[in-house]
Amino acid sequence: MDKKIVKVPLSKEDAKSLKTGDYVYLTGTIYSARDAAHKRMSEALAKGEKLPLDVEGNVIYYMGPSPARKGRPIGSAGPTTSGRMDPYAPQLLDLGLRGMIGKGKRTNEVRDAVIRNGAVYFAAVGGAGALLSHCIKSSEVIAYDDLGPEAIRKLEVEELPAVVVMDSTGDDLYISAVAKYKKD
């Protein structure tokens, strides 16, 4: 089977065409942000300030890397648990965020916001940070440098493997796939 390459930032049409269970490879530009960066972005919005990145059409990777060794763009770089970003995600999705990469279940509020905005939630393989680091070609801190691993980074990625675990209709692979293999 051919590799299904998906360009990021993600167009509205591409987001709609992705279906739960699709195994895809993301190529282009994404941004990393996790707990502390989300808290700051939310605080900035509450104060009416501009976000450090324009989220429209973009994809956020819930990830805080280990430090890069000399000559490498980044250290180990696998996904963190998405659920901790659930309190903040709907607001960003309503501002146009089109994709999220992480691991684990989301709340109904996030699911509703995914459907409302035609967005997609991808899972990367948790605990495969060394492998995933190979797909990151460059990394640049663009905001909240003081947060160290939690700073917002702009990442150029090439064929980053991910599974669509929730498509724009809200179909959740974590529910359907588990039911398929459950034995009583």
Partner: protein
């Protein structure tokens, strides 16, 4: 005979062990992952397990941590009662080892100095240090860096004697099912049964450092470990939570005496990156 042990030895070994544990999985974990990969029936699940094998290979070869969450450093010292530490403070020496391991080893600094003020300490200290006094004149060091994707899904249940073994089984399954995809399955499940509130949690944590191929030497506990592993693997959660039969690689249970009124159960969930390095000095 009292044996003098310089605390510098703790620092040097712990530094190396932090780096070793975060780049190489122990042999028992590698074997368990390989067996799971061979036996997985879900195509997507198999793909996830293949990725994990490839990841381990890259990690060791290129010195990139297996997982970016290089954890909070949990250190166990089993100190022979004939050991006399010299050359400084033991806790300081342990922290210095962790500091050097995480800074020099390019490991992620994931520790905040206060749980609510939340400022990163920049060197992954302090460590979580557990000490035990044992017979002899040696010091056994276990370094087990613990990631929090799975730590967050760990649970404590203060059951009552009437809940019995069925209550214990329910507690374990409840914790695992609730953890689901968030805890990076296939998991290793460390369980403590008995003791007091804090002893029980310690039993569960310690259970995670046991070789995953070794079952309890208490017959009913061994049976419980095997039954729970089967039930967990029938849950359907699978590798990465994307469906399949490999949800856990092992269930390790430790027990201890408890009070006539109680039946504490602690379930410490660990992801497939169940790291531990062990040395004796």
């Amino acid at each position: 005979m009292v044996r003098d042990v310089n605390v510098n030895l703790l620092t040097d070994n712990i530094k190396e062990m932090c780096i070793e544990a975060t780049h190489y999985l122990s042999k028992d974990m590698c074997a368990a992952l390989k067996k799971a990969t061979d036996e997985e029936i879900s195509p997507l699940g198999k793909k996830v397990l293949d990725s994990l094998s490839e990841n381990l290979e890259i990690a060791g070869k290129e010195m990139i941590p297996i997982c970016q969450d290089t954890g909070m450093a949990v250190v166990f010292l089993e100190i022979g009662q004939d050991v006399h530490f010299v050359g400084g403070d033991v806790f300081d020496a342990v922290n210095e080892g962790v500091r050097r391991g995480y800074v020099d080893g390019f490991l992620r600094k994931s520790v905040v100095g206060d749980p609510l003020i939340r400022v990163n300490t920049q060197d992954n200290t302090p460590a979580i240090l557990h000490t035990e006094i044992v017979p002899g004149d040696k010091v056994k060091i276990t370094v087990a860096p613990k990631g929090f994707g799975s730590e967050n899904k760990s649970r404590m249940f203060m059951l009552t004697p009437a809940d019995g073994i069925e209550g214990v089984k329910n507690a374990i399954l409840t914790a695992v099912k609730d953890a689901g995809p968030n805890a990076c399955p296939p998991m290793v499940v460390g369980v403590g049964i008995g003791g007091t509130f804090e002893k029980c949690a310690y039993l569960a944590k310690k259970a995670l450092t046991r070789d995953v191929s070794v079952r309890s030497d208490i017959p009913y506990v061994k049976e419980l470990e095997e039954e729970m592993l089967e039930k967990i693997n029938n849950s359907g959660i699978g590798p990465g939570g994307l469906g399949g039969k490999t949800t856990a690689l092992a269930v390790n249970i430790n027990t201890y005496a408890t009070h006539i009124a109680g039946l504490p159960v602690a379930v410490n969930i660990c992801c497939h990156v169940n790291r531990h390095a062990v040395r004796e000095i």
